[in-house]
Subunit: 151 residues, 2 copies
DNA sequence: CTCAATCCGTACCGGATCGGTCCCATATGC
DNA sequence: GCATATGGGACCGATCCGGTACGGATTGAG
């Protein structure tokens, strides 16, 4: 299904939190605050750290914080960190030889769609995700934006 | 995983075919031509017909054809016809009351992301998908487009 | 009128993936 | 030393996906 996994869902919650306050926060702490499965949260944070999106401090008083400003963290990165390499369909990779490239009418079309999805996610930054909502900017179905203005 | 199901994958192949030639084609015929699982192809075509994207002709010499010009068929429609209603995460619906709306920092942000995905798919038409590839228009990672020009 | 081709609806199944849990090792501050 | 943290896995049940199958309805051809 065309759907974000729970890991990414939780990841966005955690990253939003870390983007808004610049203090470090521990896994236990955040899991409690948002009432989310502690073990999962721990795993998600580990993965984000491994991918270089977060940096961690071990030991007592340790925790996590963003490795970079939220403006330089893309949705594509987050998704790939938590779900593995992104590919809309099987035959999208570095010059994958498809079964019947000659006869398949979507060898190119499907790569175009894949590329567009990827670009879309690569351009959408954590800062935008958090900021748009904070400022009440919601895109409508026809692409028209309504800004409620920041407070 | 953020991935198109096989049904949509096959659907795009079939729709591309139907968009390029305006003759009707039967399920059996297409399954054979592209060497795809006949039963699945049949089911996919049924679903697309039920959603009003294709029209069918029964009986001998019957088959399927597009219900509308390819320019008026969006990727969003195709996906929703074959995978059911599109929602990136659970808490995206018509005013779903989330568990802890007050405390969750992504109630709005995640809806923004969802909305953007949906708009993106709603604006991408079958005609564009087929046409872009035919004309060699491939979007690069930074959004710059190279057109090889139609032949 | 009969028959084959074709669509229609729906049920079924094995395997992959997901959501979630758990454990033990390591590092650090008090 | 010990409580608090992260690090790196393995593990399991529920769900979803990819694929198959079957009986029924409709239509054109001979
Ligand atoms: S099989 Fe790869 S594009 Fe069709
Ligand atoms: S629970 Fe619905 S947005 Fe967080």
């Amino acid at each position: 299904m065309l759907r974000l996994s729970k890991k990414v869902d939780y990841g966005l919650i955690l990253l939003s939190r870390l983007a808004q306050r610049s203090e470090t926060a521990s896994a236990r702490e955040m899991a409690a605050k948002y009432d989310l499965p502690p073990s999962m949260i721990a795993n998600v944070l580990k993965a984000l750290t491994g991918a270089g999106i977060l940096v961690s401090t071990r030991g007592a008083q340790g925790g996590y914080e963003l490795a970079r400003p939220a403006g330089r963290i893309s949705l594509a990165e987050i998704v790939e960190a938590l779900e593995g390499p992104f590919s809309l369909v099987d035959c999208v990779g570095d010059e994958v030889i498809c079964r019947y490239t000659e006869v398949c009418p979507t060898h190119d079309p499907i790569r175009v769609v894949h590329q567009r999805f990827h670009d879309f996610m690569a351009k959408l930054t954590l800062a935008e995700i958090v900021g748009d909502a904070r400022f009440g900017t919601l895109q409508t179905a026809d692409g028209h934006e309504k800004a409620h203005l920041p407070g």
